[in-house]
């Protein structure tokens, strides 16, 4: 009889130990022991076998999980002095908001950043939010799934509204041209204007280049700005050359037929060109040419529109094949940035919210993805807080 009751008391204390101070657990267990002893004695006085009396007494006392829950409810457990419910809400909100960190960055341009440290921070914050939800459930041995669901259900429209106010988006989603923060207009609008100005130059250069290469039968028929032969030839001496056109950037895939070395982002002098093209002979002619993979415009950074190719025939082929599509892309991006500036003007004149289907889809999608993740963390937290053994109940006999 003593063994069975002791077994029950151990199970009860295991469920209380993680959450209550030892002296409190001892008091509860001692009181439970006293009750069970009295209960068994009473049942034996009414007639009956000892084992049946013990089983009945323990069953009447209740499952350890339920009894422990009652004491934990009354104990007002906290996590770092705060009600775990608030931790659950905070953790869920943090995960939801952090997922949108790269949109909500105070950096200004709502850039998707690519593979940058901001995305790493966002992932860490999401993981932290999930861990907080798990910890809150584990601390009080109970699931708070409704707090998670409610937080995401209310937090998602709140975040949509917040970003609709915070962010002035470009009308069309273009890579690296998502929008401007309302709080960084004065800082970022000049950058947009500079990029627009560069796009104007590039558009003109592309337009003339398409025509020039279409007409030219050899490099002799090309204007100087479309060929770098003379730059290479003049470097036989120590003559310092004028800088290359500043709007011509270079990408990592720029050199066709030659291995790419460490790549400068833009050539500022003819010596840079020669240094860059290791193995290129001084008799070779180098031509800027539209990219096979399309124009790539980054606000505030470089504009990647051109590759460099060796040989007139290859250059002519690139200009004829990719020139028109790159020109269309540059015009599209210029239109998008101009429209962004008009929206900035609207914001300056009192418009509060700007809808953005692309961002809205991202937010809702993130909430849908995060919900099962947070619920899983909550479930694991509540589950792992309990002892792994299930109370056998009727299997006592």
């Amino acid at each position: 009889m003593a063994r069975l009751i002791d077994w029950y008391l151990v199970e009860l204390s295991l469920r209380l130990n993680r959450a209550l101070p030892p002296e409190r657990v001892n008091e509860i267990v001692q009181e439970a022991d006293a009750h069970l002893q009295e209960s068994v004695k009473s049942r034996l006085q009414q007639g009956g076998e000892e084992v049946a009396a013990v089983e009945a007494a323990i069953t009447a006392y209740g499952k350890p999980d339920r009894v422990a829950k009652g004491f934990l409810r009354g104990s007002r457990l906290t996590m770092l002095g705060v009600n775990p419910m608030w931790w659950t809400i905070f953790g869920s909100s943090l995960a939801l908001a952090a997922w949108q960190f790269h949109w909500a960055t105070l950096g200004g341009y709502f850039d998707n950043f690519g593979d940058t440290w901001q995305n790493d921070v966002a992932l860490l914050l999401v993981a932290l939010g999930v861990a907080i939800v798990l910890g809150a459930a584990r601390r009080t041995l109970r699931s708070r799934r409704w707090a998670v669901v409610t937080t995401l259900a209310l937090g998602t429209p709140a975040l949509l509204l917040a970003l609709a106010y915070w962010m002035i988006p470009a009308p069309r989603y273009e890579v690296y041209q998502v929008g401007i923060s309302r709080f960084h207009i004065d800082r970022d609008v000049p950058i947009v204007r500079r990029t627009l100005s560069r796009l104007d130059q590039i558009e003109a250069y592309l337009q003339h280049g398409i025509g020039a290469f279409a007409k030219a039968g050899s490099s002799l028929g090309l204007p100087d700005t479309y060929s770098e032969t003379r730059l290479a030839a003049q470097l036989q001496g120590d003559v310092e050359l004028p800088p290359a056109p500043p709007h011509l950037g270079v990408t990592s895939t720029s050199v066709r037929g030659r291995p790419a070395n460490a790549l400068p982002r833009a050539f500022t002098s003819g010596t840079d060109i020669i240094r860059f093209f290791a193995g290129v002979s001084r008799d070779d002619t180098i031509y800027p040419a539209p990219r096979e993979y399309g124009a790539f415009v980054e606000i505030g950074g470089n504009v990647y529109v051109f590759d460099r190719v060796i040989g007139f025939d290859e250059a002519k082929k690139a200009w004829c094949s990719f020139g028109p599509s790159d020109l269309a892309q540059v015009r599209s991006q210029r239109y998008n940035l101009a429209a962004l500036l008009r929206r900035v003007d609207q914001a300056r004149h009192g418009r509060l919210f700007f809808a953005n289907p692309w961002i809205s889809t991202q937010i809702v999608g993130a909430a849908i993805l995060l919900l099962p993740l947070l619920l899983l963390a909550d479930w694991i937290g509540a589950l792992t807080a309990r002892p792994l053994r299930r109370w056998p109940g009727r299997a006592l006999a």
Partner: protein, 111 residues
């Protein structure tokens, strides 16, 4: 509502006659059926809450020759709270009584 489904009120009422140890309190409450679906062990947290609120005091009794038992006793605050519950219950009982009496009077055959 006082006493019906209010485990704390039932505990206070059980203790009004004098100090009792936990098992006895639980036994009497279970006999009234007022604890509903609560198991015996689930009543103890309510007793501990009353103790934390100052409505009852509890002390271990070790001089009976039997295993130590925790004995509960009402405090003045507990008596005041019990009186408030009794008043609420009396109003409820009177109200239901009037309704039932009115219903009985209007039934056919009751004149």
């Amino acid at each position: 509502m006082a006493f019906k489904g209010d485990t704390k009120a039932l505990i206070l009422a059980t203790l009004q006659a004098g100090p009792l140890h936990g098992y006895e309190v639980v036994r009497r409450i279970r006999e009234t059926g007022g604890a509903g679906k609560l198991s015996e062990g689930q009543i103890y947290p309510y007793m501990h809450e009353l103790e934390a609120e100052g409505m009852v005091t509890a002390a271990w009794q070790t001089d009976t020759g039997a295993a130590p038992r925790r004995v509960y006793q009402l405090t003045e605050s507990g008596r005041t709270e019990l009186a408030r519950h009794k008043e609420t219950w009396a109003k409820f009982v009177n109200g239901v009584g009037c309704l039932l009496a009115t219903g009985l009077a209007k039934e056919p055959g009751n004149g």
